[in-house]
């Protein structure tokens, strides 16, 4: 079974490193190849890492509240870099303040993200979603991990 590569990072001027560290660990444990570009990452750095490693998905974290500004336009730039179809997940505390999640989700889906995760998401959920979205389920892949 081919090992899928994920690019992981925290976008913008955001330094929240703890969740990123745990996600990297959890995705590796789950059998993915993790390219973790860490905190304070620009959109360009995400894309470059994805292109260079032939990644199957980009997972963007934004915790500090500036997510709306920082995440906008990533899908378009992916297209320009020739990876317009790459899977884009985003999660964390995406906006400033305690806001209704369904409207936040809608905004980010409109920005071109495939899946949007609320604050406090445990790694199990994106792992299951990735397996589904990357077609790893049903072919026994989940048994390998």
């Amino acid at each position: 079974m081919e090992q899928k590569t994920l690019v992981l990072g925290v976008i913008g001027a955001d330094v929240h490193a703890v969740g990123n560290r745990i996600l990297a660990y959890a995705f590796s444990q789950a059998g993915f190849k993790v390219v973790n570009i860490g905190v304070l990452s620009t959109q360009e750095e995400f894309i470059q890492a994805a292109v260079e490693t032939g990644a199957a998905a980009i997972l963007v974290s934004s915790l500090y509240g500036h997510g709306e500004i920082d995440c906008c336009g990533l899908r378009k730039k992916c297209g320009e870099a020739g990876i317009g179809d790459i899977l884009l997940y985003v999660g964390g505390n995406l906006v400033v303040g305690k806001q209704d999640f369904s409207s936040v989700e809608k905004d980010f889906i409109e920005m071109g993200y495939d899946r949007v995760y609320p604050p406090g998401t445990m790694p199990e959920r994106p792992i299951e979603d990735l397996r589904k979205d990357l077609g790893l389920i049903g072919n026994g892949a989940e048994l390998c991990t």
Partner: protein, 484 residues
């Protein structure tokens, strides 16, 4: 300029100042002697150092929130609200994350977008963009002292503008605002940036203006063992005093075990006085600040009130001079002003009820204090050795060697080899010591306690235990017992 802990000379300061004030257009508004004159006119009730002293002298613990929004008028309203409805003893002005990274053009976009959206799109107040006059509006709008709180590796311009703007307290330091807040900024650079900030505070001090400085104790806020944060805090205290700072508040972030947290708060001033004296530096006014739990919070507000309260209780029993307050919105987002005020009121109810009550000194407390003192001294002495007596130089080398090592820090100038984990009673211990210069006895102390927990849980202490501990408080517990 070669790195040294010695006082920065006036020429070097002047040279940098010119460059710093040119970094953004509002730098031009700074006029030091006019600022000194402004400070001299401030009523005593607005001077941070004086109110801290009042708390210290009458044995109270005072409460301070974190808060900041993008636009000035909304920020003024927020400040007034937290004073009136939150009964805050001290006010903050928390700076947004673009400003913290010196990205003033992006901060400007945030300001403009916030105007358009009708809500704050920034996670703090962009003080540099707003400038000196706006800062003074804040000081003049409230009746209690206000502090700048942030997380800025290079805070020179921010300090220039906000101190000229009448703020009487400024948080941060060359380590504590780098290692948890940056990825690629060399420690050598931030130590120098912050020597500038401290020198600036020292210049005010020389003019008779008391500026309170506060190293950021909690660092990454996540299972930081006391001796690690103490080592950093004491170094920043020493570096600040060397630049002429006269009033320092030493910080520490709650770990969650009452005895350990009390021991941590008790030992901070002891260590500061000891090392200042050893290095021939003047004795300064030392106070302490306790941060309510800085790691992941429960999303449920009722549970968050429990976490907030436990921090308030510990602050009161351990007699911190000041406590930094969390809010019931912590896990979800920047709090509304109502949620922020609620967190303060919960805290103040407890502080007021516990006024005068203390945790009596017991064998357990004494032994925890002894361990913290010993560990911190082992680290600091090694730092001084590495620096051949110069604590600034030693700090850079110590981080290189992993002699100081902050858990979960994003900086690549941090070794990242240690692993903290809780023991059975929730005290934070070392699962992996990395290169910390600890004795065998100390290591055994930690290992023994962690092993006991392992036995209780029927598992080998390993990274999964650390992860469980990181999630624990958010899930309603302190010790991350295996999920059953």
């Amino acid at each position: 300029m070669k790195l040294t802990a010695a006082k920065m000379n006036q020429e070097e300061f002047a040279r940098q100042r010119q460059a710093v004030l040119g970094q953004w257009v509002t730098g031009r508004e700074v006029d030091f002697s006019e600022a000194v004159a402004y400070h001299k006119e401030l009523p005593e009730s607005k001077i941070f150092a004086l109110k801290l002293l009042e708390a210290k002298n009458n044995g109270s613990t005072y409460a301070q929130p974190r808060a900041g929004v993008a636009l000035l008028n909304e920020h003024l309203e927020l400040m007034r609200y937290l004073q009136a409805e939150g009964e805050a003893d001290f006010l903050p002005t928390t700076i947004d994350s673009y400003t913290r990274q010196n990205r003033y053009p992006e901060a400007q976009i945030g300001i403009d977008e916030s105007r358009r959206a009708g809500r704050s799109m920034l996670n703090g107040f962009p003080a540099v963009n707003h400038g000196v006059a706006a800062c003074r509006r804040i000081i003049e709008s409230v009746s209690v002292p206000v502090q700048i709180r942030h997380g800025t590796p290079d805070a020179r311009l921010l300090a220039e503008i906000t101190l000229a703007g009448g703020f009487t307290a400024f948080e941060g330091g060359g380590i504590s605002y780098n290692i948890p807040y940056a990825k690629d900024v060399p420690l050598e650079s931030t130590l120098k940036y912050w020597q500038y900030v401290d020198r600036l505070a020292g210049l005010y001090e020389e003019e008779g203006i008391r500026i309170n400085r506060e190293p950021f104790g909690p660092l990454t806020g996540t299972l930081v063992p006391p001796s690690i944060s103490h080592a950093v805090t004491i170094i920043e205290c020493i570096l600040a005093v060397a630049q002429g700072v006269g009033n320092i508040t030493l910080g520490y972030g709650q770990c969650g075990n009452l005895i350990q947290d009390t021991a941590a708060l008790h030992t901070l001033p002891i260590l500061a006085e000891e090392y200042l004296a050893r290095l021939g530096l003047p004795a300064v006014t030392i106070t302490t600040v306790f941060h309510q739990w800085m790691g992941g919070f429960p999303q449920d507000e009722a549970k968050a009130y429990g976490v907030i309260s436990w921090g308030a209780v510990t602050a009161a029993l351990a007699k911190a001079t000041k406590v930094i307050v969390k809010t019931p919105h912590e896990a979800l987002g920047i709090p509304t002003k109502e949620a922020n005020a609620a967190g303060i009121r919960t805290t103040k109810q407890i502080l007021n009820m516990l006024r005068g009550q203390t945790l009596p000194r017991t064998a357990e407390l004494a032994s925890e204090e002894k361990v913290i003192l010993e560990e911190t001294r082992l680290i600091l002495d090694q730092v001084l050795d590495l620096g051949e007596g110069d604590i600034a130089v030693g700090t850079v080398r110590a981080f290189q060697a992993g002699i100081i090592d902050v858990p979960f820090a994003p900086s690549r100038f941090n070794a990242g080899k240690i692993l903290p984990v809780r023991d059975s009673l929730g005290a934070v211990r070392f699962l992996d010591f990395g290169n910390l210069p600890f004795t065998g006895d100390i290591k055994d102390y930690h290992r023994e306690r962690i092993a006991r927990r392992g036995r209780e849980e029927g598992r080998e202490p390993a990274f999964q235990m650390v992860i469980d501990d990181i999630y624990a408080i958010g899930k309603g517990i302190l010790v991350g017992r295996p999920r059953s």
